[in-house]
């Protein structure tokens, strides 16, 4: 009992120390000086209640029946359902159903709903790309947003200086991002996992700082605006077409409606995601996909079997970057504006959170996680707490389910064909 009491007092003191000074006291700017104000009553009550709860819990921890088994009780999904949900075939069917839903979505959803769905698709694409690097190859890339930025700026610059359209710029953006991935990857991929993470973070930040400061080319902090929207075989979705183009509504003789543009953008995003899903599904069953996973499991064993780790890693890194490049150029086209501030570390962290939450290596998990993340972002009342929740989610996921919410079982391979 006395030991419990000591622990309880210690934990409570700790809780008060970490919560009261930062949460209970607030620095406010009054005039030109600073003043400290107490937080509102609700915050203080919360801190107090948390302290009391902590104290009682620590004190009575041994006596509470089954307190230790709390964790085992919470996920009450029966084993069979869980097994069924993680089967590759089940997940493929669910993805197929989701794709069907996505195809009919623009005809039922409102304009805003379609717009949000487009954003979700961008993150699905980024998630799939990063999943190659993090989930399959086991390389923690914290500068993924850098390749996204490369893709976005490639299109923006090509449009600004050379008058390229979206469809022409899209493959170039992918190629450009791939080139960056390859160039950056080649020297750094020899590094051990955690160093690699920090170096990629450094690269991501360097790209952003360069974009911000090379004002003559990139427009600096203001970025590049008036990036043209994609066209449908040369038909523009604007009210008045730029020179040399015809408008979509003019061509078909229907009244102008800005919703067409939103739906068209959505369909392009869907097309890109479907392409990405196709590629990743093939890749996972291809020799290179197996090599990625083998490398994640045991690099030394890989080397002893004749796999060149640098090339295997580089291919994952480059391919991941390519996906980000595609997503980036689409992002630029959708926004019509790119600024360096769209490509901060937080963006990398959000994509990483999607991969981690979804389950490394699982496509369905990533799709669902992207949906959750973007909806969380769009909900007004949550927006403030969004990043707080992300951070907490990442910690809890690592402790509770490092394999993600919806991992996928290994595919069953038939020995006789």
């Amino acid at each position: 009992m006395s030991r419990n009491l000591k622990t309880a007092l210690f934990s409570t003191l700790l809780l008060l120390l970490i919560s009261y000074p930062i949460l209970g006291l607030k620095l406010s700017v009054i005039g030109i000086g600073l003043q400290v104000e107490g937080a509102d009553a609700r915050t203080l009550w919360t801190i107090g209640l948390a302290a009391v709860a902590m104290f009682t819990w620590q004190l009575l921890r041994d006596r509470l029946p089954g307190a230790g088994r709390l964790a085992a009780m919470t996920p009450s999904v029966p084993g069979q359902v869980k097994h069924w949900l993680t089967l590759p075939s089940t997940q493929r069917w669910i993805i197929l159903a989701l794709v069907m839903l996505a195809l009919v979505w623009p005809f039922f959803g409102s304009r805003a709903a379609v717009d949000i769905a487009t954003l979700i698709l961008i993150y699905v694409m980024l998630g799939i790309g990063l999943n190659i690097v993090v989930g399959l190859a086991g390389l923690l890339d914290l500068g993924y947003v850098g390749f996204y930025a490369v893709g976005a700026y490639t299109y923006a610059l090509l449009a600004e200086y050379a008058g390229f359209g979206f469809w022409l710029a899209l493959p170039i953006a992918g190629l450009m991002a791939a080139t960056f991935g390859c160039l950056l990857g080649f020297p750094v991929l020899r590094l051990r996992g955690d160093y690699l993470a920090i170096v990629t973070l450094g690269f991501g930040e360097i790209i952003r700082i360069l974009l911000r400061n090379l004002t003559d080319i990139t427009g600096g902090p203001n970025g590049i605006s008036q990036i043209p929207k994609p066209t449908l075989f040369g038909l523009s979705f604007d009210r008045r077409a730029p020179e040399g183009l015809e408008t979509f509504h003019g061509f078909f003789g229907i009244p102008y409606d800005s919703t067409y543009k939103v739906i068209f953008l959505y369909l392009i995003a869907l097309l890109l995601v479907l392409l990405a899903l196709f590629v990743i599904n093939r890749l996972m069953r291809m020799p290179i996909g197996r090599a990625w996973e083998a490398l994640r499991e045991d690099e030394i064993a890989c080397r002893s079997l004749g796999l060149n780790p640098t090339i295997v890693k580089l291919s994952a890194f480059t391919l991941g970057a390519t996906f980000a490049g595609f997503a980036g150029s689409f992002f630029a086209a959708r926004q019509g504006l790119v600024t360096p501030e769209s490509f901060t570390f937080i963006e990398s962290a959000m994509i990483l959170a999607i991969v981690v939450l979804g389950g490394m290596g699982s496509q369905l998990g990533i799709i669902l996680a992207a949906v959750v993340m973007v909806l969380l972002q769009e909900m007004r009342e949550f927006n403030e707490y969004r990043m707080l929740i992300f951070g907490l989610t990442m910690i809890v996921m690592m402790i509770w389910r490092p394999q993600g919410l919806l991992p996928m079982q290994r595919p069953h391979l038939e020995l006789k064909s």
Binding site: L14, L17, I18, P21, I22, L23, L25, K26, L27, V29, G33, L34, Q35, V36, A39, T43, G138, L140, L142, P187, V188, L191, R192, G193, D194, Y195, A197, I198, V199, L201, G202, F203, E205, I206, I209, L210, R212, N213, I300, F345, I346, A349, L352, A353, V356, E384, Y385, M387, L388, F390, G391, L392, T393, M394, I395, M397, M398, I399, P402
Partner: protein, 307 residues
């Protein structure tokens, strides 16, 4: 020779900032030395240290205390105590359950912790810059005049003195005390230390606490030097201190000090050469270059791959 004085001035400024980087870097290097993980949230602990110092200083100012010594004392004490609690709790909550196993998992957890802490402070303290007037204004000139001499502010002197004392304290603790010896044993071989009856959980927690307290010292000093804080400053400071730790050789405490000083100087000269906006690029590039060409840093031991 105004050129020479200009460079000397940059050197002094660089060493000042560098010594605070060194303080933060020690936290990275000690944790890495013992459990081999990058405590990504360490920069946030430093940021929280700055906030606590500002809160303490403002509270004292509101209470009418205006002599320097008690203000400094309270600011340091409050900040170190609170960050120690943070260091301990972060380890207990986010890292201890993940010990052993894949290296990337604790790192992801640490990134989550970093995001969480930064946003927690942003929510409770809002994200506006907070400024306090300088507590220790004034400077003196070494040389004939400001143009042909080196200007050193009293604040810089304070930074040097406090940093030096903190490091002296740390090295005495590590080399002389029982717990310090246990720390060294754990850095050498955690499993063996555990078998020999050292409470390794306690030692790991202790390194987090020491690291956090030193980060708080840096937080107070840099907060007073710049006079402005916001919730975002932990991220960059964290990366820079990590660079310092890697530069010096991660796992080595003297290495962290050396790396911090070198990075501070490199940054000062880099900003002088390329312009202030590229100061951070200098730090990042240095990090990348060191990791590429000498991942063991200047004083680090080469890591033999275990097969």
């Amino acid at each position: 020779m105004p050129e020479l004085y200009h460079y000397l001035q940059q050197l002094v400024n660089g060493l000042t900032i560098g010594s605070t980087y060194a303080l933060i870097a020690i936290g990275y290097t000690m944790v890495y030395g013992i459990i081999g993980m990058i405590n990504f949230a360490h920069g946030e602990v430093y940021m929280i240290g700055s906030y606590i110092a500002f809160i303490a200083i403002t509270l004292l100012a509101m209470a009418g205390v205006d002599s320097l010594l008690p203000i400094m004392f309270v600011a340091f004490a409050a900040s170190m105590i609170v960050t120690s609690a943070y260091g301990y709790s972060i380890e207990r909550f986010a890292y201890r359950p993940l010990r052993g196993g894949n290296r990337l998992i604790p790192l992801i957890s640490a990134i989550g912790m970093s995001i969480f802490l930064q946003n927690m402070v942003m929510l409770s303290q809002d994200s506006k810059d907070k400024a306090i007037p300088s507590l220790l204004p004034g400077n003196f000139v070494l040389g004939e005049s400001a143009m042909s001499g080196v200007t050193i502010s009293y604040m810089q002197v304070l930074i040097f003195v406090v940093t030096f004392l903190a490091m002296l304290g740390l090295s005495l603790f590590i080399s002389r005390s029982r717990l310090g010896r246990a720390c060294r044993a754990c850095a050498e071989d955690l499993k063996m230390a555990n078998l020999l009856g050292i409470n390794t959980n306690q030692i790991i927690a202790l390194t987090f606490v020491i690291g956090a307290a030193l980060a708080a010292v840096a937080g107070v000093l840099l907060g007073m030097q710049y006079g402005v804080i916001n919730p975002h400053l932990g991220f960059l400071a964290g990366i820079k201190a990590f660079t310092a730790a890697v530069l010096g050789g991660i796992g080595s405490i003297p290495g962290a000090v050396l790396g911090g000083l070198l990075l501070g100087v490199a940054e000062a000269f880099g900003a002088d050469l390329f312009g202030d906006q590229y100061k951070d690029v200098v730090a990042f590039s240095l990090l990348v270059l060191v990791l590429l060409f000498r991942p063991t840093g200047i004083l680090g031991r080469p890591e033999v791959e275990k097969v």
